[in-house]
Amino acid sequence: MTRKFTLLFLLIAVALAVAAPKRAAQIRTGTNQGVIGVKIAVPEFQSASSDPKTAALLAIFNKVLWDDLDYAGGLTLVSRSLYPLGKFAGPGDIKPEAWTAPAVDAQFIAFGSIQAGNGSMSVEARLWDLKATQNREAIGQRYKSDDTDEGARFIAHKFADAIVDLISGGKGIAQTSIAYISERTPGVKELYTMDYDGSSAHALTAYKSTVLTPAWSPDGEKIAFTSYRRGIPDIEILSRSDNRPYTFERPGGTTTTPAWSPDGSKIAFATSRDGSDMEIYVADWNGKNLRRLTVSKGVDISPVWNPRTGREIAFTSDRSGSPQIYIMDAEGTNVRRLIEEGGHAVNAAWSPDGQRIAFAWQKARSNFDIYIHDLTTGQNTQLTSDAGSNEKPTWAPDGRHIAFESSRTGTKQIFSMILDGTKIRQLTNAGNNTGPAWSGFFK
């Protein structure tokens, strides 16, 4: 069995000859101050060729670009119903005053055209700063790929990220990926990855067994996970690009919940190799140089490193009688409880900036919901409510989005949302899908 692998096309991106000087007029946005997002108009890209494939590619491109920008956070997309009438393919079609008029009131406009033929497609894409008096063109790029759905998607993601990087005050995540566990035959769980928007899902394993708890290496090249393939669960590592396995020496006992150190050199995990219960250990990422970090009666599991400093590890322990989140120094010292208010607190996920911990909290004996604990203020903010059980939060590398698993549809599926709890979207449908792990930015 083989599978199509990630990007099935050639990509060439060249600056358009007509592009204005590299730096457009200084672009200032309000997003860094936490005010309303920059307003951007995104009229549909136009077809510049009669090739029959163009219409389908155009539809995909237009949808993906809109969704990417709409979902970025920090941008406000002006509704297309407010746009001037007409088709907007090239610079000659844009009259800035029509787009800055009170009815539309856009600061930026993204527009362009698509051409397909002879197996390839080419997108001419521009971003204009409508309020600039000169050097209006902030981006002028021609992107090329083969004429596939994936090609159209890829170019849309690429252009969206370029826009987000430039004007939203954040960094674009449209080219990131989410690893997760998919159960499409009852009792069989395989490791999958998908694009950040749920498209292009594919299996990395065909073990016909159970795998759980995927974790990305910081360079995005490897995924560590729990595998029951050999009976007693242990940790396996696969390369994302070619499925190559790496050896992780089995410590013995039920071994699970791997987590990479921020420098990628070590893995923290839980194992019952000592007999009575799970303890947190750390080892080199090949499983050698094993060191025990926790010594407590009860379960110690689900370690995660502070990705900013690598100096602390958060984990779940029931040493107090119920599962709670604790933080210790990376050597296992100075253990302190994070959430004091009771219930069950699990699934700690450290934000990329190290300032916050997302977690799943079951306050009474009901459903879990996703919360964020601010490490500076100690404040807990609830992100989900009244929609099934919501668990396993994972941060996007921009620190502005979170994916999680939820039972709200009756099956377990993966959803994502902006950090304020808005724009919740369902990413998976087939079977049951759990344990999302959002990648970092790929190099």
Partner: protein
């Protein structure tokens, strides 16, 4: 068509003339209106151009693809990774082990130009054969399955309930008389707690049972433990009755 072309040529000439005039205008302050010297600027070196293609763009692992490149106005061409400096125009078969993007850079007096070609390598999903040993059906009438019972637990607990201590004592006596039987204790949970914590809880349940049996005189080296957490439940309904069945330690014969 031709007319349009003529128009463009005329327009170009006109623009050129305008530039010329503007250029002269800038020299208005010059004392003598000397005619401009007939200078022909040295022709700028033409910019290099290069195309790089991979055919086919998608291969199976172990297969090969052919890179073809063609450069103009270039003195040298470099292709990375792997190929290095190559002739200005050429082709070569490559067999990348994983998906890769080749970059061809042409360098000439007029600057540099580059093009890229991505080759996608289809790789088989890791190990299509499960190496997990098949569960050995235990059908012999006098076997472990008929004589050793599951141990059930309370919600979120790994402590032995009093009636389960009696169950375990019976299990221990059978296991001691059948000293050649090696077995795995599998710990399970209902699916209400969190998945990861339940892996730890199932592990505790299995180990609590193991410790009890060892204390009763069953040799520890006959016993393996494994936690399934909330995986592979006995019962898949969301009812209290079902939850209770799933919170268990189960015995599976290894030999």
């Amino acid at each position: 068509m031709r007319l349009t072309h003529m128009k463009s040529v005329l327009l170009a000439l006109f623009l050129f003339g305008m530039l010329f005039l503007v250029g002269c205008g800038g020299k208005k302050t010059a004392a003598a209106p000397t005619p401009p010297p007939p200078v022909t600027p040295p022709p700028a070196a033409p910019a290099p151009a290069i195309t790089l293609r991979a055919e086919p763009a998608t291969i199976e692992r172990g297969g090969s693809t052919t890179l073809t490149w063609e450069a103009r106005n270039a003195g040298s061409v470099t292709i990375t990774p792997e190929l290095g400096t190559v002739s200005v125009t050429g082709n070569r078969a490559v067999t990348p082990g994983s998906s890769v993007t080749y970059t061809a850079t042409a360098t000439g007096p007029g600057g540099t130009a580059s093009d890229i070609a991505r080759v996608t390598v289809n790789v088989p999903a890791a190990s299509t054969t499960p190496v997990e040993p098949p569960r050995r059906p235990d059908v012999s009438s006098g076997g472990l399955a008929q004589n050793v019972s599951d141990v059930l637990f309370d919600y979120d607990k790994a402590d032995l309930r009093p009636e389960m201590v009696d169950v375990l004592k019976k299990n221990a006596s059978w296991l001691k008389t059948n000293a050649n039987v090696r077995f795995t204790i599998e710990g399970y949970c209902d699916d209400r707690g969190s998945e990861e914590y339940n892996l730890g809880l199932g592990d505790r349940r299995a180990n609590v049972v193991k410790e009890f049996l060892v204390a009763q005189g069953v040799a520890a080296n006959r016993i393996n433990t494994v936690s399934y957490g909330e995986e592979r439940p006995l019962c898949r309904e969301e009812t209290e009755e079902c939850f209770a069945k799933n919170r268990r330690a189960h015995f599976a014969q290894m030999n």
